[in-house]
Symmetry: C2
Subunit: 347 residues, 2 copies
């Protein structure tokens, strides 16, 4: 299957690592000097030519060195993912991670603050764009709901979930609903449905509530209308940060590349959909350049990992950067930060 012999692999690996380290096309002479393979430049040249034929490398122009292709990065990432990543080789200090973990714990009651902190940390540590998707309310366990009357013909609904995710919503409602009525509806919901996921409640239980109608008559029918509106959440939140830092990377010294990435994160919907689709998979995932289904991201790479509550994936974080990404560091960071979040949500 894999037509690469060991030597070619080592050289390819070395070239990619060197290029990630410094974005200059890598020449045969450089390889022999920097890494002591014990071959002359001419030999390396032959191998490099082969690697180019196989699509792992490419030449910007005839007399330049070689540059990895997406396929080359894929090889590199695959061998990284095959390695044992328990050892921190990313250059990120463990003290920093501990510190971050402690900080998360302090602010875990403020889900907004927590996830903006997460994306900030991701980006500032990596110099790539940090992305954080908070737990989706639909997948969370319903803990409690409360209603408040507001301005006679509106109702404020507040939903609490296990992870502390809270949604509030102001809804126009029948003015004849009194605060007492609302309290009764809330009590009913809290008693009957606590512990279920919102998705459950939405799909299955609204049907059942309709069946309960005989019990509660017209109050319940109003409650149903209310709930249907409340449980239809608008699009999830998503936190980005680090566009500014990314501009300092040599990969984005060209203004059109900045426009590219800024366009990609500008319309959140696209990325949201993409990440949503990934959120059920396990472990770190890497999408390199062209592998990306979204046009706007064809020149970028995404490293992403879900985080868990117990054994359910409930959300996701990611790093977006140039295809010439420090994948080793990015993978380590994303894995570590996801681990911190899972730990915080558990504790």
């Amino acid at each position: 299957m894999d037509p690469l012999d060991e030597r070619s692999k080592q050289i390819l690996y070395a070239i990619i690592q060197s290029y990630i380290n410094k974005p200059d096309p890598v020449g045969s002479r450089f390889v022999t000097k920097k890494y002591s393979f014990g071959f002359s430049p001419a030999t390396i040249r032959n191998i490099m030519a082969d690697l180019e034929d196989m699509g792992f490398l490419s030449q910007p122009h005839t007399s330049a060195g070689r540059v990895p292709t997406d396929k080359g990065y894929r090889f590199y990432v695959n061998s990284l993912l095959g390695q044992d990543r328990k050892i921190n080789t990313s250059g990120i200090e463990t003290a920093f991670i501990d510190n971050f973990s402690r900080k998360l714990d302090e602010i875990k009651n403020d889900i907004t603050g927590m996830f903006s902190e997460v994306s900030n940390t991701l980006s500032s540590m990596s110099n790539y764009v940090g992305v954080a998707l908070p737990p989706k309310p639909e997948k969370s366990h319903f803990t409690r709901i409360d209603f408040m009357k507001y301005k006679s013909d509106h109702v404020v609904a507040i939903i609490l979930t296990d992870e502390g995710v809270m949604k509030h919503k102001i809804i126009k409602s029948d003015p004849s609903l009194s605060q007492d009525d609302l309290n009764r509806i809330a009590e009913y919901l809290n008693n009957e449905y606590a512990g279920r996921t919102i998705d459950d409640i939405k799909s299955v239980l609204i049907g059942r509530m309709k069946a309960d109608k005989m019990l509660w008559d017209k109050l319940i029918s109003r409650a149903i209308t209310l709930c249907e509106e409340i449980l239809s959440f608008s699009e999830s939140d998503i936190y980005f940060s680090g566009l500014h830092d990314v501009m300092n990377l040599p990969d984005f010294s060209d203004i059109s590349r900045i426009k590219e990435i800024s366009k990609a994160i500008k319309d959140k919907h696209t990325i949201l959909r993409l990440l949503d689709a990934l959120s059920d998979n396990e472990g770190v995932q890497v999408m390199i350049g062209d592998e990306n289904p979204v046009t706007e991201l064809k020149n970028l790479s995404i490293v992403t990992s879900p985080y868990k509550e117990g054994d359910r994936n409930i959300g996701l974080i990611a790093l977006i950067g140039p295809t010439r990404m420090d994948y080793s560091k990015a993978i380590f960071m994303v894995e570590t930060v996801a681990g911190c979040i899972s730990k915080t949500l558990k504790g």
Copy 2:
């Protein structure tokens, strides 16, 4: 006071308008051609040299045309602000404004959505960075508070205000406080303090609550602790948008300029403080380049206007762009959008 004669003013005005329209240094020949003042280029040159001596214009290099200085723009803006702006000269269609106004009305119950819509509209219409500051909760009128017990040792507090701004907060609390206790505290607060501004409650009433202590004994003392924590809001929200669109302006064709503006809006705190300081002033305000107290904004201009609820300024919107801004359009937009918001909040 003003050493400019009418003729010089007209020429200066024309030069600035031309430069705003197209960022090429304006030469004497061009002025004579484009605007028919009836003088030869030589005469115009003399006047331009005078204007340069007075600091209204500057030359990028000896043989280039002239470019407005900050002082020049200030002259331009002052004469704009002196004009009657009731007439829409900005090229923005009234149909669009009506549409926007209607849209605002639809989503006025969702303060987050509303203000992100505001900043989006500002930016997409102008191609500058749109900024929106939602009403500060501290200045809002307290309408209602509610508490919910959460995970035995936490309390969720929800505060509603007149403008519908709602803050929720999860607070660690004494586990012995029962939901009943919480309800009684809430009832007390709702009865006693509805209608006051949060600032009021914070500064004056917490003192009074302490005096009430005899009445309610230890429950109230707990309530006080709770309230103190609840009413200390974190920094206000601020919505930015349009960094992406700004990149298409010729003023930001240089990457370092993009970094500049992106840095400026990256740390929200600075701009927040700046705008906060302006929010008590009446009407549109323009800060041009150097006039700006914040270093990061020395090369940018800000056009801003407060919006009202009744006759109180409760929040603020702004446009940030290059000093070569279409001030006429920007002023019109900011004024109009602020008007729409005020109208929506009233209705």
